[in-house]
């Protein structure tokens, strides 16, 4: 006996632009949440290394997107907006964190936790550690390129920089990673 299983959880956001049914802000948030929330939190986590902060930040982005829905009116534009907002807010959060660290030096924080040490022994953990050594822009470009699989044009749009700058950050970032990995592999 067979049954047709639904795909209710895999709510998809309509791809088409022309002729797409108008959706209200609540419905748009619900659909975009189902399709993109987890991935955006993971993007935030890759940039911040703090799950709680990443979740809060992405929720802020959805709330802001809800307020702008009257201007966006398009799921594709909304996704681009959310991506860009997550990166920008992550950058601001890191900046605040850096300022706070300067005013409240805490030597304990600089030592990795036991859990962190276990994680960093893994190869993929070493990659994240190497990413931490890159400049903010290089890290953002590489995460958008290799985690979200965005094109150069989409990355340029998300970061409000030129495609040439995307190429440059990507190339230099990869070169720095290669150096770091080769040092680690020895």
């Amino acid at each position: 006996m067979t049954a047709t299983y639904p795909a209710p959880a895999r709510v998809s956001v309509r791809e088409g632009r022309g002729g797409a049914r108008t959706v209200d802000a609540n419905e748009a948030v619900s659909q975009l949440y189902a399709a993109h929330y987890a991935r955006l939190v993971r993007l935030g986590w890759l940039l911040l290394h703090d799950q709680g902060a990443a979740e809060e930040l992405v929720q802020d982005c959805f709330v802001a997107m809800h307020g702008r829905w009257g201007r966006l009116r398009d799921p594709d534009k909304a996704v681009a907006y959310l991506r860009s907002a997550v990166v920008n807010r992550s950058r601001s959060a890191l900046r605040r964190r850096a300022v706070a660290a300067r005013h409240q030096p805490d030597p304990v924080r600089t030592a990795p936790s036991a859990e962190d040490s276990v994680l960093r022994r893994e190869d993929s953990g070493r990659v994240l550690a190497a990413l931490d050594g890159l400049s903010q822009r290089q890290r953002e470009v590489l995460v958008l390129r290799y985690y979200l699989d965005l094109s150069e044009a989409d990355i340029a749009d998300a970061l409000s920089i030129s495609r040439g700058a995307v190429k440059s950050h990507s190339s230099r970032g990869l070169a720095a990673l290669r150096t770091s990995w080769e040092a680690g592999d020895e």
Binding site: M1, D24, N26, E27, R42, L46, D123, S124, Y147
Partner: protein, 313 residues
């Protein structure tokens, strides 16, 4: 492959390996509630229509109202049309050993009212697959089958004279997952539904007042759909399912008397992009078990396994 491509592939693998392990807590209701708070605090000129609704309902109720007002993909279900004695198959979601939801077909008495039929099946169905559990069987719920309504993307289900459902008793499953089980089962009978509102359900801890939204993270990454548990089939056996795994890899093996007699790998969907997978395997008549699973990209261990026993005639 160029050096840059190789580096990129290694980086992509590592980023997915690390980030895709993250399971964010459900937050849709928090977000929607915050959007309503934001509207309340917005300047008067930007919320001319707001006073009509503001004093009347809570933020949670507003979500439902907004969905009712703005979209009508399907209306209330029609009254009973089928013969009370006719039977059909509905989909019920059960819970697998990994604490994820898996759908399975359940034969029901068809009243022509899909949502109440599906809920009734959930409250009474014992999973055929011995690996799955149905915590609703522990609850002793009674259900009024005539009062489920579907409006836009929110389905309202009314329970009648329920006994208290206490998570941790009997099946020992946490309440959020139990509610997701119900929500997915209802949604399978109401295409387009993205949330389920529950009335008359006595839960401990108390039921959230807002509709329960479907959480994709709670679905099993690998769902083996065919053959079904105990099915009698002919060779070659067609094995099908849906998956979203690391780099879309799906491994499988066929066992007879506990020994692996065939094994290979196929492709499904990658993380967050579920797709169907399928393969055929020729087998002599006999009893077999097919196991479909993912090998952890971290340590190669078998994870997210789903299995079915079947007989080749």
């Amino acid at each position: 492959m160029s050096e840059h491509d190789e580096l990129g592939a290694r980086l992509a693998g590592a980023l997915h390996d690390e980030a895709d392990r993250l399971r964010p807590d459900p937050a849709l209701q928090t977000i929607l509630a915050r959007t309503q708070q934001r509207r309340r605090s917005a300047p008067a000129g930007s919320r001319r229509w707001w006073p009509v609704l503001a004093g009347a309902v809570s933020a949670a109720a507003l979500v439902v109202v907004a969905l009712v007002v703005f979209g009508l993909p399907h209306g209330s279900r029609p009254p009973e049309t089928a013969s009370p004695t006719s039977r059909s198959v509905t989909t019920v979601y059960f819970i697998n050993p990994g604490g994820r939801l898996v759908p399975a077909p359940v034969t029901i008495r068809d009243t022509g009212n899909p949502v109440p039929d599906a809920v009734r099946a959930l409250l009474t169905a014992k999973p055929v697959d011995p690996d799955y559990v149905n915590p609703w069987l522990c609850a002793g719920m009674q259900y009024d089958a005539s009062t489920a309504t579907t409006r836009t993307t929110v389905v309202t289900v009314n329970f009648q004279r329920p006994s208290r459902f206490v998570p941790g008793v009997g099946c020992g499953i946490d309440q959020p997952l139990v509610l997701q089980q119900l929500a997915f089962t209802v949604a399978s009978a109401a295409p387009g539904a993205t949330a389920v509102r529950l009335r008359g359900l006595d839960l401990y801890p108390h039921l959230p007042r807002t509709p329960v939204s479907l959480q994709p993270e709670d679905l099993a990454p690998i769902i083996l759909e065919s053959p079904t548990q105990g099915q009698r089939v002919s060779s070659p056996v067609r094995v099908t399912g849906t998956s979203d795994t690391f780099e879309a890899n799906v491994a499988w093996r066929v066992l007879q008397d506990g020994k692996v007699i065939r094994s290979a790998a196929t492709m499904g969907g990658s993380y967050g992009q579920p797709k169907a997978f399928g393969f055929r395997v020729r087998l002599a008549p006999g009893s077999y078990t097919v196991e479909v699973y993912e090998q952890s990209p971290r340590n190669g261990k078998v994870i997210n396994l789903d299995s079915k026993d079947f007989t080749v005639e």
